[in-house]
Amino acid sequence: MRRLILILVPYAWLLALFLVPFLIVVKISLSDVALARPPYLPQLDLAAGWAGVKDFFQQLDFENFTFLTSDDLYWRAYLSSLRIALISTVLTLLIGYPVAYAMASAQPEWRPTLMMLVILPFWTSFLIRVYSWMGILSQNGVLNSFLLWTGVISEPLTIMNTEIAVYVGIVYTYLPFMILPIYATLEKLDVSLIEAAEDLGCSRASAFWLVTIPLSKPGIIAGCFLVFIPALGEFVIPSLLGGSGTLMIGKVLWEEFFNNRDWPVASAVAVVLLLILIIPIVLFQRNEQKNREAGK
């Protein structure tokens, strides 16, 4: 009996505040805009009994989804979100891997401190970390002043409000998510394997390519998913650093909802985004499960 109550409380909470809201989104994505508030039809009329339920399902349609395919704004937004998320994941990997490698090569007594230094930014506000780049990247910002002063450039660079600024923002905020899983696999790596490869005639570079990289693959894959999945639906970074020219689906959803007040279309955008996300999420979970089984 006590066990039942213990299960019921968090279960009911999640059902009411996670699953039900999500079903509402799916339902509204199949509804039409109505002029009255709340702006959508049909309403489920349970008082009318079975006829009400039947009526409700008959009025649902895929109009909003056909609308998404007819307006190329949405296509371009999904594609450019995928492109931006992919490019920033690769950039994060290129910057994060050497850092993780260096951490794993450091003296053991230094490692906890290095790890804390990598985790620490995660505890400071995400919004502030993104904001800190606005003062650096802007037309007369710190970076341009510095480059002009050293004479590397003669005209200020335009970085702010371009896709480049979005890449910088994503790489910066998600770098710890890439470093930590790679570091975890590299730390456990058996050095004697690399020594054996070198003894058998591998150069240091080819030992790295043929032994270290393949053995750290689980960490690389986990890190890439941990960056790619949140980057795809990102809202704050493109809206602060990307300007009006950068299309990302999280921003489109926000504007559709708050500026255009078109709830059904915003819900349809959300459903499609989730359908796109399911593929990487399932792949990620499979990778995690494989690692867990390999670890046993």
Partner: protein
């Protein structure tokens, strides 16, 4: 892995500089006397004064703190219960759905979580305000808490609980006197994580908040949307300072606790032999 070459040193320095320089620059420029954020016009604490006189920011900070304290506390209780269910109870009806609902919010884009909760609140006619933000924050942070706590629960010896039950404890007593002290570090980290997530959240709060309740991230976001503002630099510096202070204190305390535990174990071993 034990080879610290020059290349490693360079990439480590570069990586850490990349992580910390932007925040350092922000802190330095918060003491700039000029209103033009990029022109250095001498040291001044002027913006801190302006910030303290800005009542809208103080109000927002109060709302954020209130929401953070309440939601992280409820989330810790619910998350610990959820972790217990995931690790300790066997099969029950709908278990797969339950664990799915624990893990899904971790990967769900914030815009979708926010949108769905707002549609729910409007659907049931709940007035948006502090209560709705608390409900929203509790829901996603309880999932983080349960992940942290369940990793601790899986790694500890169940025979201790069984011993307590054999010696006549009620299940609740065995939880309170045996289990809870052992998982306490994970519960505390879970609470801290939930609290930071709540303080930090912009997107979900924007959806869940009504016109009368504005949180600090929402205030910051609307202030910096159009560009850099010196007051926000000052506010950021204060927030970075609080986090740095908290982390230093926390690591000192936990280091001392570990040292004490080691000492006790050593004493116990000596007493046995």
């Amino acid at each position: 892995m034990r080879r610290m070459s020059g290349f490693n040193l360079v990439s480590l320095t570069f990586g850490l500089a990349f992580l910390y320089l932007p925040m350092l620059i922000l802190v330095i420029y918060s003491f700039n006397a000029s209103k033009l954020v990029t022109v250095w016009a001498g040291f001044s604490t002027r913006w801190y004064g302006e910030l303290l006189r800005n009542e809208a920011f103080l109000d927002a900070a109060l709302v954020t703190l209130k929401v953070g304290l309440i939601s992280s506390t409820i989330a810790t209780v619910l998350g610990t219960m959820a972790a217990w269910i995931l690790v300790r109870t066997g099969r029950f009806f709908g278990r797969t759905l339950f664990s799915g609902m624990i893990y899904a919010p971790l990967v769900m884009p914030e815009v979708i979580t926010g949108l769905s909760l707002l549609l729910l609140f409007i659907g049931i006619g709940l007035d948006r305000g502090i209560l709705t933000i608390v409900l929203a924050h509790t829901t996603f942070s309880m999932c983080y808490v349960s992940v942290v706590v369940s990793s601790r629960l899986t790694s500890f010896d169940t025979s201790l609980e069984e011993a307590a039950l054999d010696l006549g404890c009620t299940p609740w007593q065995s939880f309170r006197l045996v289990t809870l002290p052992i998982i306490a570090p994970a519960v505390i980290s879970g609470w801290l994580l939930a609290f930071t997530l709540s303080l930090d959240d912009l997107v979900i709060a924007s959806f869940a908040a009504g016109p009368s309740s504005t949180t600090l991230p929402m205030k910051i976001f609307s202030a910096v949307r159009l560009g850099v503002s010196p007051e926000i630099n000052a506010l950021s510096t204060i927030m970075i300072g609080i986090v740095a202070f908290g982390v230093v204190i926390f690591s000192l305390v936990s280091k001392r606790a570990t040292a004490r535990q080691l000492q006790e174990e050593r004493d116990a071993a000596r007493a046995e032999s």
